[in-house]
């Protein structure tokens, strides 16, 4: 029997945003795609069969999360990108765990499930167990919320939650970096255009044009990009 060990970075239970620890999420299994079968720990076998639904309007984040869960051996992961007919889709799927973006207004729709006696499985919100305040805090900071089927032992999903939290955090870091890169690119374009204009109008070299922008920015206590933008705006007015 071949044992596959998947390692995932997850937030330690006491970890807060920024104080990230690592813990091992270990899933054991035979072969590569069916973790759980014939593994020594019965509890972990069952976990691999947990059905997880991800409700997220951001397809990229949902994909990152789904990949993470699948890597961890949780093969029953379904994405629900749309909010239309959300409850019907959830009932059809009958998941054990529902992960939802905290910024999704559809959380209130999900809460209606607690009111329905017809539903066989009654999900409860992750926040129900307040004994673990630190991990709730971490989840809120990361912007993730989860609902689990009532009666499911909390220990069985701690790893899943930790993984979701770390993936949500990873996504927001990526997003921040992407935004920053975009801004930087935009700024460079503006500065390049202003430089080009100075070179043409005043007959300066590229270095001289840049030095002039920088000097003006320092004198006026502004950013170079702001000076460059003013220059472009002014030029637009003179056209």
């Amino acid at each position: 029997m071949k044992t596959v060990i998947v390692r995932a970075v997850a937030q330690a239970a006491e970890g807060r945003f920024g104080l990230r620890g690592t813990s091992d999420l270990t899933v054991m299994g035979k072969g590569s795609d069916l973790p759980g079968a014939g593994a020594p720990s019965a509890g972990e076998q069952r976990d691999a069969s947990l059905k997880i639904a991800i409700v997220d309007e951001s397809p990229i984040r949902a994909a990152i999360l789904a990949d993470g869960l699948r890597e961890a051996g949780l093969t029953h992961v379904e994405l629900i990108p749309e909010t239309h007919n959300l409850l019907a889709r959830i009932y059809a799927l009958d998941p054990d765990v529902i992960v939802i973006d905290l910024e999704s207004p559809s959380r209130d729709t999900l809460e209606q499930m607690f009111q329905m006696s017809r539903v066989v499985k009654r999900p409860v919100a992750m926040f129900v167990d307040q004994s673990d305040a630190a991990s709730i805090q971490a989840a809120v900071d990361a912007g993730v919320s989860a609902y689990i089927v009532d009666g499911l032992k909390k220990e069985r999903i701690t790893n899943i939650l930790d993984l979701c939290i770390s993936r949500f955090n990873a996504f927001s870091r990526l997003q921040t970096e992407l935004d920053r890169a975009k801004d930087a690119l935009e700024e460079r374009k503006v500065i390049d255009r202003a430089k080009g204009m100075l070179m043409k109008v005043k007959g300066l070299s590229e270095e001289q044009a840049y030095a002039l922008l920088r000097k003006t920015a320092m004198n006026e206590n502004k950013k170079i990009v702001e000076i460059a933008q003013s220059l472009l705006t002014a030029a637009e007015l003179f056209k």
């Binding site: 909010t83 239309h84 007919n85 409850l87 905290l102 910024e103 999704s104 207004p105 559809s106 959380r107 209130d108 729709t109 999900l110 809460e111 209606q112 607690f114 009111q115 006696s117 919100a125 926040f127 129900v128 167990d129 307040q130 305040a133 709730i136 805090q137 809120v140 919320s145």
Partner: protein, 396 residues
């Protein structure tokens, strides 16, 4: 004087006006409070962030602190509500098609909620006879006036909201879209969403919430009980700043000024806000107008003082619709959530003797007077009403 910093969560709705104006027009600052308003997208978020301490206070659906204090549907966290941010303010909007059907089946004036509710029962019966799918109605949260008002209205006509129609929770920003694409046939929601549906030509306002129940708190200022116990002075200052803001909003000479700042916070046209505050609404795409001086009360007629009888009424609705079993202990706990004593103490006013409102403080359009001390008896009256259902469906 050093400033006290507070984080308060809210959902962008006109009934948050007192809170928004307290912050934006300096009433909070005058009490030494530096308030950071945090805009939220769901009541679940507002409740959870208040419960775990990320918020000091919140703008919240009036029945929600009762559900939380009793642990209904969620973890039990004792919350208290010492200030009504607004009374009333909801409306029931239906598609023009359903509006026409209700008028066609009406045995009288469909503007009368009892007439329209009976008409709804006939529409439901006819749809069932034809094998059509049941009507869908949207509301904002299981523990909300919207849910209870819709159910109260339907049941009065003999419609069982759990069997005869489908009730779905929809976030307010999705309401109009859902009406447009036919996912719901009607909804009950607060301002400005009913007006948005009328403007878009996809909805007719069937009833103002105040036509169903004359006087009910819609949103309240809610804090954790332990927070209120440890910071009584801060809470009193917050209550005073909200009371002054509410008074300011009601003064006609400030209307234009506050309407602009509220509209900016909500991200809607100022005209939609002023319609709501003035209680004069366009109720149909053809331009029909309807007015009520009880459509929404932000600060007049003693609107801000919490009334434990209202808490008991909400609890009775929770029991009536199977959200929780009836118990005297829970009924007493529910009434202790609405803290008129803290309101009176903060403002240094004696309790009012008579506010000239409805006899039982609620003024429902049909049914017996509500008696907070006899919820079981009140609910029995409704069971009798429900057994009268087959007779109603024979009328047509």
């Amino acid at each position: 004087m050093s400033e006290t910093r507070l984080r308060i969560g809210y959902i962008p709705l006109v009934d948050a006006a007192a809170l928004l104006v307290a912050v934006d027009h300096g009433f909070a600052a005058a009490e030494g409070l530096a308030i950071e308003l945090v805009r939220e997208v769901s009541w679940s978020n507002v409740r959870d962030k208040l419960n775990i301490g990320l918020f000091d206070a919140a703008h919240m659906l009036a029945p929600l602190p009762i559900a939380s204090s009793l642990g209904i549907g969620h973890v039990r966290v004792p919350l208290i509500a010492p200030f009504n941010l607004a009374l009333n303010g909801n409306a029931v909007t239906v598609t023009p098609a359903l509006h026409a059907e209700l008028a066609a089946f009406a045995d009288g004036d469909p503007a009368d909620p009892l007439v329209s509710a009976r008409a709804l029962a006939r529409v439901v019966a006819e749809r069932r006879a034809k094998g059509a799918s049941p009507l869908n109605f949207g509301m904002t949260f299981p523990f909300s006036n919207h849910n209870y008002q819709l159910r109260y209205w339907m049941a009065a006509g003999g419609v069982d909201p759990d069997e005869d129609v489908r009730m779905v929770v929809l976030p307010p920003p999705y309401m109009v879209e859902s009406l447009t694409n036919g996912h719901v046939d009607g909804f009950c929601v607060g301002a400005p969403w009913n007006s948005v549906a009328v403007e878009a030509g996809v909805g007719c306002i069937q009833h103002f919430g105040s036509e169903l129940t004359l006087r009910l708190p819609e949103k309240m200022l809610v804090v954790r009980e332990d927070w209120a116990d440890t910071r009584p002075d801060v809470l009193a200052a917050l209550i005073r700043s909200l009371a002054r803001a509410a008074e300011y909003i009601e003064a006609v000479e400030h209307r234009a000024n506050v309407t602009a700042s509220i509209a900016e916070r909500l991200g809607v046209e100022p005209s939609l806000v002023s319609r709501t505050l003035n209680g004069l609404l366009k109720v149909a795409p053809d331009g029909t107008m309807r007015g009520s001086d009880h459509y929404i009360l932000i600060g007049r007629e003693n609107a801000n003082r919490p009334d434990p009888a209202h808490a008991a009424w909400f609890y009775a609705q929770m029991v009536r619709w199977g959200q929780t079993p009836l118990s005297d202990e829970a009924a007493a706990t529910a009434q202790r959530v609405f803290r008129a004593d803290l309101y009176d103490a903060a403002l240094g006013r004696p309790a009012p003797t008579n506010d000239g409102g409805p006899r039982d403080g609620i003024g429902a359009f049909v049914g017996p007077d509500f008696v907070p001390g006899d919820i079981a008896g009140y609910l029995k009256a409704w069971e009798l009403k429900r057994s009268g259902r087959p007779r109603l469906s024979l009328v047509r």
